[in-house]
Assembly symmetry: C2
Homo-oligomer: 270 residues x 2
Amino acid sequence: MVYNNSVDSKPGSVYIPPARRHQTPRRAMHEPAYLHIANTIADRIGAGEYRPGDQLPTESQLRREFGVSPATIRRAVNILLDRGLVTTTQGKGTFVRSLDIGEAVFRLQQITEMWTGGGDAEVLLLEARIVPAHGQVCFMLRLEPGDPLVYMRRLIKRAGIPLIYQVEHVLYDEHRPLVETQLQITSLDGLLMAGHAEGVPSGRLTIQAVSLDHEAARQLAVPPGSPAFCLEHLFRDFEGRPVSWGMFLCRADQFRLTTHIGVSPGGEEG
Amino acid sequence: MVYNNSVDSKPGSVYIPPARRHQTPRRAMHEPAYLHIANTIADRIGAGEYRPGDQLPTESQLRREFGVSPATIRRAVNILLDRGLVTTTQGKGTFVRSLDIGEAVFRLQQITEMWTGGGDAEVLLLEARIVPAHGQVCFMLRLEPGDPLVYMRRLIKRAGIPLIYQVEHVLYDEHRPLVETQLQITSLDGLLMAGHAEGVPSGRLTIQAVSLDHEAARQLAVPPGSPAFCLEHLFRDFEGRPVSWGMFLCRADQFRLTTHIGVSPGGEEG
DNA sequence: CAGTGGTCTAGACCACATG
DNA sequence: ATGTGGTCTAGACCACTGC
C-alpha cells in the first residue's frame, strides 16, 4: 500500500456508522482520553494504590477498564513512561518504578522567566569591541590567535537590582550581519533567542557553581567571592561551527532551580 | 462499543492480507518508522533545510513522502514537539521554532552518575542521632519544636576525594521502620532511591549555588567559602506529608550540568 | 504455546483557522 | 468550504518472555 490517496472521506466504509458515537461522554470535556488515563494511573501510584515494584494491570485489562482502544492505552502508558513513573519490558509487563533522584530534570526556563516574567527588566550593554582572539576563546571557537572577534559585556537588572552579568564572544565575519545584530541587543527577547540571529540551530549549555571575581561581583553589587550560577553557552551554525561563546553569571541569591519527581504535586481531578 | 472482546486474531478480516507486507524495508532495521521520520526531519532542521519560522510540510504531505499512515506521522511530529524543535497550532500548521535558551533541561542523572559510574565510591556515615526539631526544620517537616527527628550527616568520597557532604533530617516514627533503614544506608544505591524506603512517591528538589561554611568545607577538603552546588531535597509520603528534608553539598570543581538545545549533536544516519 | 508490550494501518471524527 | 492539526478506533503483525 502506497497510501497516497487524498485525505479520505469516502462514504460507506469499514467504520462503524456515526450512530451512538460518544459525542462527549468525557469526564471534564476538553481533556483527551489518553491524558485522563495517564493522570488517573499516576494518581493511583501517588496514592499508593499501585506500589513501587508492582506490575500495572496489563494493557488489555486497562483498555477494558477505560473502554478505549489499545492505541489509546499505549499512548497513556508512554506518557507515564517518560514521566519516569513506570518501566515497561516487552513480554513481561509494566511496572511501577521506585523514586530515583537521578530522574529529576531542571528546566532553565525557570531562570529566564525571572527576567521575562515582569516587564521591568533592562539590559545594559557595558562594553562591545572587536578584539583579537586569545587563550581559551581560541579553543572554544576554533580560532587562530589574533583572529578578530566581538567581545561584549552586558548587565541585566530588574527593579534596580543587578541579576546577571554576561560576557560573550562572537565570531567576527563581515559577510554575516551578525555583529550589527548583536550589538543592538539590549532587549530581553533577543538575549533569550540563542545566537540572537538566524542560522543557529544548536547549542551546548553548561551550568556550574562559581565564586565571583572582583569585576563580576562589582557589577552584581555583591561581595567578591559570592556564589553564583555560571551558565556557559556555546552556539553553532548549520555546519556545526561554533559562532558564539560566553557565560551568564547569575547571582545565587536571586536564582534557583526547582523540580519535582514522582507523581506531580499539581494533581488535579481524580 | 465496549471493546472487551479478547485479544483478536480472527482470520479473514478487513485487513490487507499478509501478501506484500514490507517485512523490513526499514532503513537500518530495528528503528521504528516514527523515530526514523522524526530524526530525518530533525536533521533537516539542523541542516538548515527547514529554517526557523518555516512551516513544515503538512502531515498529509509528510505521510505521502514517507508512505506511512497518519498516526505514524503524528507520533513523529509529537516527538519533535517535545524535543522543542517545532510548534504546532491547530488549523494553521507545524512550524520550526527558533532556538530558545529557556528550552534547555538539565538532568540530575549527570550528577548521580558521578558516584554510580565507577564502583569505587564510598559513603561514610559521619553522624546519626535523634535530636529535637528546631528552627527551619520544624517548618519544612511541619513539626512542633521539640518533636524528635533523626539527624544524619554523610560524606561521599570517590578515589579518596570527598565529593559530596550530605545533611539530612528524617521524621522519627517508631511505627515506621524508616529509622533503622536510614541508619544503615552507607551504600550508593540506597542514597539514590529517594526516601531510601518504600512509601515515598514524590519529592521536591531544588538546586542553587552556595558558599561552603567552615564545617562543610572541612569535610570536602576545600577552603571555606568555596563554591558548591546545594541540592536540597524534600520527600513526602502517600498522604503528602513531608518525611525527609536535607541537602547534598557538591564540590563545584567536581560537578557540572551540561545539556544541548536544538538538534541533538549525536545526529546519526540521515 | 499463550501472554505481554511495541508498532502500524486505514480510516473516521473533531476543533480550529483561513479565505 | 477547505485545509490544518488532534484524537480515536478496530484490528493486524511483530518481538519478546515464560511456562
